[in-house]
């Protein structure tokens, strides 16, 4: 799965997510990626989220919208991302990751899987990684 969250100079937020799913999936299986609130969510008043990981768990937990609701209630982007991903993993015993951008431009990155590749550009500097810490 791949995803992107951006905020433009007008303060508008957009999110995109795309995937091939999981290897060996059933014919006709649909995961979290195309489901708004699970794989993708954007709201200019709060922020944007794109998720990746175990699709059946992410869609049952509505992971993207869970992160947005935490932020709506005052949690910062990074804490909200970590709390929701951890909550999903604790409850459903499968792993996931998410990237989050708040309306103020705060970045959130967290994954409970072994690795997740990510990158962002802020203040004309590029940051990237794939390992924890």
């Amino acid at each position: 799965t791949v995803g992107a969250v951006a905020i433009d100079k007008y303060g508008h937020i957009a999110v995109a997510t795309s995937t091939g799913g999981m290897s060996g999936k059933a014919v006709g299986r649909i995961g979290d990626t195309p489901l708004i609130g699970s794989g993708t969510y954007a709201d200019d008043n709060i922020g944007g989220v794109s998720t990746t990981g175990h699709g059946e768990s992410i869609l049952k937990y509505c992971l993207a919208h869970s992160i947005i609701k935490l932020m709506e209630n005052g949690t910062d982007a990074n804490t909200a991302t970590k709390e929701a991903v951890t909550g999903m993993t604790n409850r459903l015993k499968n792993t996931a990751g998410a990237i989050t951008l708040s309306k103020n431009g705060d970045v959130g990155i967290y994954f409970s899987s072994k690795r997740m590749s990510w990158a962002y550009i802020k203040s004309n500097k590029i940051f990237y990684g794939i390992e924890h810490n």
């Binding site: 791949v2 995803g3 992107a4 969250v5 951006a6 905020i7 433009d8 100079k9 007008y10 303060g11 508008h12 937020i13 957009a14 999110v15 995109a16 997510t17 795309s18 995937t19 091939g20 799913g21 999981m22 290897s23 060996g24 999936k25 059933a26 014919v27 006709g28 299986r29 649909i30 990626t33 195309p34 489901l35 708004i36 794989g39 993708t40 954007a42 709201d43 008043n45 922020g47 990746t52 990981g53 175990h54 792993t95 996931a96 990751g97 951008l101 431009g105 994954f111 899987s113 072994k114 690795r115 997740m116 590749s117 990510w118 962002y120 550009i121 590029i126 990237y128 990684g129 794939i130």
Partner: protein, 170 residues
């Protein structure tokens, strides 16, 4: 507002031999998206550009390089959402198109619906001017190997080969 773009290239049990390709790929993709923002483009166009870049890159499970279903087919899905008005476009069970994210974008901009799947998504895409590609052109060696390994070991949910003991992948 300072424009910012943040991307991911998938979470899971990514083996060491796939790390460099993924890091190189996310750097290329984030720059592609940032270029749009730096030129005054919209966040919507920026996220599409970043995802397009990764859909073309074999290192990622999207577009070319997507993993395979039990019949050995690529069946992709994508979604895109605009935070200004909560409008969204999504597609699923898309075959034979290299860029499902662009079809999802068209659902957002050129359709009264939000989510179209399967044969309907194909008809919609063709109606909007997208052209099909041979299905085998979207299949990478890594995807074939991953399916072969799944069929031998039966571990559902692995998008990468060479790693064991961790499910839950993107």
């Amino acid at each position: 507002m300072e424009p910012i773009i943040l991307i991911h290239g998938g979470a899971g049990d990514i083996p060491q031999n796939r790390v460099k390709g993924k890091l190189d790929g996310v750097k290329v993709a984030v720059i592609a998206g940032h270029k749009i923002l730096a030129q005054g483009g919209s966040a919507l166009d920026a996220v599409e550009a970043a995802v397009l870049s990764m859909e073309d890159d074999e290192n990622f499970n999207a577009g070319y390089g997507s993993v395979l279903n039990l019949r050995g087919e690529v069946a992709m899905e994508a979604s895109i959402m605009r935070g200004e008005d909560l409008n969204a476009g999504a597609v699923t069970l898309v075959k034979d198109f290299p860029h499902p994210i662009s079809i999802a974008y068209k659902v957002l901009t050129d359709s009264p619906h939000s989510f179209i799947g399967g044969e309907g998504a194909k008809l919609f895409a063709l109606d909007k001017g997208f052209t099909t590609v041979p299905p085998e052109s979207l299949i990478s060696e890594n995807a074939k190997n991953a399916l072969e390994e799944f069929l031998q070991h039966g571990e559902l949910g692995r998008t990468e080969i060479g790693m064991k003991n961790e499910g839950g992948v993107g």
